[in-house]
Amino acid sequence: MKRYSVFAIAREALRHHTGWERAWASPEPKPQYDVVIVGAGGHGLATAYYLGKNHGIRNVAIIEKGWLGGGNTGRNTTIIRSNYLQDPSAAIYDKALQLYETLSQDLNYNVMFSPRGLLMLAQTHHEVRGYLRTVHANGLQGVSTEWISPERVKELVPIINIDGPRYPVLGALYQPRGGTGRHDAVAWGYARACSAMGMDIIQKCEVKGVRSEGGVVTGVDTTKGFIGCRKLGMVVAGHSGQLAEMAGFRLPIEAVALQAMVSEPIKPCMDVVVMANTVHGYMSQSDKGEMVIGGGTDGFNNYTQRGSFHHIEETLRALVETFPMISRLKMLRQWGGIVDMTGDRSPLISKTPLGNCFINCGWGTGGFKSIPGSGWAMAELMAKGEPGPLAEAFNMWRFKEGRFIDESVAAGVAH
């Protein structure tokens, strides 16, 4: 693989860019691999990458029903943060953030990580106390966050209405290291690096069944035939339930739609990410100038990648109240992704009842921001067969014990 560099750009400019190589290969599957990962989204590709990089396991196939990066990786609002309350969450999301900070250099691929800072507004006294708790927790976890005044919020976000008559801004939880990245580029960067390590990324290849012998996985039946493997990783987000059913177990998961939208592009007007949880909306501005907007999930099982329109309305109401200037902007495009929600809204990175079969899912609304940390932890789990410290708490047996990792606590939502 040729390195991307400023010299390469100069060279290619002189020959009409005809010398660029394929970013990743498109091979046919081999009959047997050490590891098969189902799902070539950010998490699956990152898992493969760290299997190769950290553990020297390179006889790996990543198989994908559609096109790589085509699931939730390509339809989120690209926010990156690690200001989580609970220790296991803070650990893995901060690992992800640290990896994001050097990911472009690491992958030799510009993932456009932009640590522009992230604010979570507190708009009730209850929320203030919740975020102060997070600041304390983060301090002890080694995650740098701070509590800032309404005046400082206004300085950072001039377009905000901090005196909103209904929910005045009482302060904010601020993570200066938080920000955004380019979602597609994260998947592409990992894909390119995996391909360069000799791994096979097999697109348009759907898993139809999981085979096992004596309680241990032996491979998967796919639309491109049987592919054998010693270890299987399921990293398919919203479709985890189907895959688990093929493998013979059930998950504490419900698939629901999470919607997002962008406005028409405008000149730069907000260079931080703002989340307003009391009124349920968040917003950032993309490099193209669009305001990128998201809100809450729908409340029913749904695989259509379309959500219910009233949630769009609710989100926009909230944000017009918070940022009155956006009322004259236009919504350019809206879409939905299918997120998998667990019983405590925290992910699974876990062994499963099937031997040598591992699962990584349940990221809910935290999928994009966790990609590098998730891949790191999943790779460790798959390589060693046992979870490392990052993954340990996210096992699927925690529900039986009642050992929740509940982040809704931090959002100031009591129940």
Binding site: D87, P88, G139, V320, R403
Partner: protein, 771 residues
């Protein structure tokens, strides 16, 4: 037709599931200041949706197709025919189909010059070209524009052979270029909810596949396309298709359709178009770098070809890699051309490459219109207690509690909020205070099985509560986590009234109905949420009894109305229920009266209390006073992960009951662990106030390098009564650690030392509330 509503300036922006159509009407954009709203959003629920959204002409990809003066042939025609505007004096038309000849003819008939029609097809034989020839228009068959000449405006075109590589045969001077690459049906509304498309080879376009329509709730087709959006491009075809679609729509609604002749269009026969994706066909890299596909996002043919070369093979990859179709037109002009270029680069069929997903809205919709009426005072419902206006008139600083607004404190001139809160507490502890407690939830539960039902709902036993008495109860969810608390009173043999937290009423009422309707549907229990029927006022403080006695009507003596009992009667002439319950630790009465008379009672209490120094107090004074007493607060001591046992509330959990909601959940290993953090009181060694949210640190770090912790603060205040900081919190093995000194985290580093004490800081025997 009287049953037809016609809305002009109204765009159907999206088709959503189950026949939901979103439309934006531009009501007064064109008549600003006439008092009408600028925009209106229509939310339409349709049985069937008939779309007649037309087709959009495609550009052709030739070098310099972005130079001002290059326009779509149909746009040129519209300017001339509809608006009498001439886009150019001397126009070159370039096309791969017959329709563009209509533009050439229209220009000529308007007296404008048409320098030539450059037609990529080798043979040009149709009726329209014949008419153009007859008008003396030069037609160049099998030719292509090699490049457009000019910089800031078109000055001419260089032409060559379409099948060639770009050798220039001729140059034609002109000041406008009208191009037509064929037509794309507007299939967006068909596609928004999953309608599938077919590739029509003859017209080189995607059209709705009638066998795979978007479906509605009953599984039937939801959208019926008609006319050009269905691929019927000529007027004659469109009319026939429309007639068919109308009949289909009527039949789909289960009605009888009359076939009415719709008229016939006289149109020239059109010869087949020829797909042309780049012009000329063999153009080299230099020309391809000047062929624009997406004019807004500056995406060129060469960019798409580069994407394909680098392996961004999926149409979605190409889109995202090049930003093709991501501008404000969302690919309406560029997508098909880009797709075709990609397919060609991959040596695949266009349908095999597929389209990107069509997402609403069709064109951008104003966010303000989507937010609708929900602005300013009606942004969200704001719930007001019957005494809301009095609070506002008496300088209350209000805080949101759910959708309610409650007085946080009543600052006087020159007072900070903190000073006001301390004054209110001091006065309540010394004299008497009034709290508007109307927001507390109140739910009547009645029936032969009501006692049994409440015993399942609460952790303790409610069926044994005597009529006329009050009992504090806890409710857990099925996980076992504490979800609500409140006082339950027994109204009669078969009816109870359950008080919930403020803002908890609807949730708990829904919770009750859920169990009654979906699990224990054979139990005879009715519930009624009567929260808003009553105004409720707490009269708390050593002089509370004297104030009530001044109002008169009910014997409120200790003998007649002991602690944890209630009585019905008339107070100051108002029908009232008086409860002897206390959340402040003081002698306290909570009085419920019909909401319409709440203000009257409040004002009567203010008047009668004047002699006793009565003052209203707000939620913050309430919070501090309950913390001084060690009473827990849902949402402070609980956060959805705390069980009653953690809070030392074992006394309120029945040991005898075989079951209650949450009992099984609490038996799980992690919840039953002896190592759980339990409730304790804390006092700093230096009397300072522990910071909100602080954790109790422990030695060392965990495997992820995070500092170990062993507890956290849940409520922390300066107690004006005790003149020092007090706190409640959770700590591992708390009950065994009284008097131990622990360290709380400080933001920015360091710790503050605090002694573990009982969480009851004031009047541990409860003598005051029992007075």
């Amino acid at each position: 037709m009287s049953n037809v509503t016609l809305r002009t300036r109204c765009m159907a922006a999206g088709v959503y599931d189950h026949g939901y159509v979103l439309a934006e009407e531009r009501v007064a954009d064109h008549t600003p200041g006439d008092g009408r709203p600028k925009k209106r959003l229509w939310r339409i629920r349709a049985g069937k949706i008939l779309t007649a959204t037309g087709a959009i002409e495609r550009p052709l990809s030739f070098a310099g197709n972005d130079i001002p003066g290059v326009m779509l042939a149909s746009a040129v025609r519209d300017y001339v025919v509809n608006w009498a505007v001439s886009p150019g004096d001397r126009t070159v038309v370039v096309t791969n189909n017959d329709d563009a000849y209509r533009t050439a003819i229209a220009l000529k008939e308007a007296g404008l010059e048409v320098a030539a029609v450059i037609d990529a097809r080798a043979e040009v034989t149709g009726a329209l070209p014949a008419r153009a020839r007859a008008l003396g228009i030069r037609i160049e068959a099998g030719r292509a524009i090699v490049k457009v000449k000019g910089g800031k405006r078109v000055s001419g075109v260089a032409i060559g052979v379409q099948a060639g590589e770009g050798a220039v045969l001729d140059e034609i001077a002109c000041d406008a270029v009208a191009m037509s690459g064929g037509w794309s049906p507007v299939v967006h509304l068909w596609s928004h909810c999953g309608g599938k498309l077919d590739w029509d080879r003859k017209h080189a376009m995607f059209r709705p596949d009638a066998t795979r329509p978007p479906i509605t709730h009953d599984g039937s087709a939801m959208v019926i396309p008609a006319g050009a959006c269905n691929g019927a491009l000529t007027a004659a075809e469109a009319l026939a298709d429309a007639a068919e679609a109308g009949v289909a729509a009527v039949k789909a609604l289960g009605l009888k359709a009359k076939t009415t002749p719709i008229g016939k269009a006289e149109v020239e026969e059109e010869a087949a178009m020829e797909p042309v994706w780049i012009m000329p066909q063999g153009a080299g890299p230099k020309l391809r770098m000047k062929m624009w596909l997406d004019y807004q996002n500056d995406v060129k043919v060469s960019d798409v070809q580069l994407a394909a070369r680098e392996g961004y093979n999926s149409v979605e990859h190409t889109k995202r890699y090049t930003t093709l179709g991501m501008a404000t037109d969302q690919g309406k002009l560029s997508n098909i051309n880009g797709l075709a270029v990609l397919a060609d680069a991959l040596a695949e069929d266009i349908p095999a490459v597929g389209t990107t997903t069509f997402r609403p809205p069709y064109t951008p919709v104003t966010i303000g219109a989507l937010a609708g009426e929900s602005r300013g005072p009606i942004f969200q419902p704001l719930r007001r207690s019957p005494m809301h206006d009095w609070h506002e008139a008496n300088s209350a600083y209000m805080e949101p509690v759910g959708l309610w607004r409650r007085p946080y404190c009543y600052p006087r001139a020159g007072e900070t909020h903190e000073q006001a809160v301390h004054r209110e507490i001091g006065n309540t502890r010394a004299n008497v205070g009034l709290l508007d407690a109307s927001t507390l939830g109140k739910i009547i539960v009645k029936g032969p099985d009501a006692g049994r039902f409440l015993d399942m709902l609460y952790t303790n036993v409610m069926s044994s509560l005597p009529v006329g008495k009050c009992r504090y109860g806890l409710m857990c969810n099925e996980q076992g986590f504490l979800s609500d608390d409140g006082v339950v009173i027994r109204l009669s043999d078969d009816s109870w009234l359950c008080h919930t937290t403020s803002g908890g009423a609807e949730r708990i009422h829904g919770w009750m109905e859920d169990w009654l309707q979906c699990e224990w549907w054979d139990w005879q229990v009715f519930t009624a949420n009567v929260t808003e029927q009553y105004a409720q006022i707490a009269v708390a403080g050593p002089k509370a009894r004297a104030v009530l006695e001044a109002l008169g009507g009910i014997d409120v003596s200790k003998a007649a109305l002991p602690f944890m009992s209630f009585v019905d009667g008339h107070l100051a002439g108002i029908p009232a229920r008086v409860h002897r319950i206390s959340f402040s630790g003081e002698l306290s009465y909570e009085i419920a009266v019909p909401a319409g008379q709440g203000l009257a009672l409040w004002e009567a209490l203010v008047a009668a209390g004047a002699a006793h120094g009565v003052m209203p107090y707000g939620t913050e004074a309430m919070h501090i006073m309950r913390a001084e007493k060690g009473f827990i607060m849902i949402g402070d001591e609980t956060d959805g992960t705390v069980i009653p046992q953690d809070l030392g509330l074992d006394w309120a959990i029945s040991k005898k009951k075989t079951d209650y909601l949450g009992k099984r959940g609490q038996a799980r290993t992690y919840l039953a662990s002896p190592d759980r953090w339990k409730l304790a009181g804390f006092e700093t060694l230096d009397g300072s106030v522990i910071a909100d949210g602080a954790y109790v640190v422990a030695e060392g770090v965990n495997a992820n390098g995070q500092r170990n912790v062993q507890g956290r603060v849940t409520s922390t205040y300066f107690s004006p009564t005790l003149k020092k900081g007090i706190a409640m919190g959770l700590l591992r093995h708390a009950p065994d650690r009284i008097d131990e000194v622990v360290e709380f985290s400080v933001v920015g580093g360091g710790t503050v030392k605090a002694r573990v004490v009982s969480p009851v800081f004031l009047d541990p025997k409860g003598e005051k509330q029992d007075a």
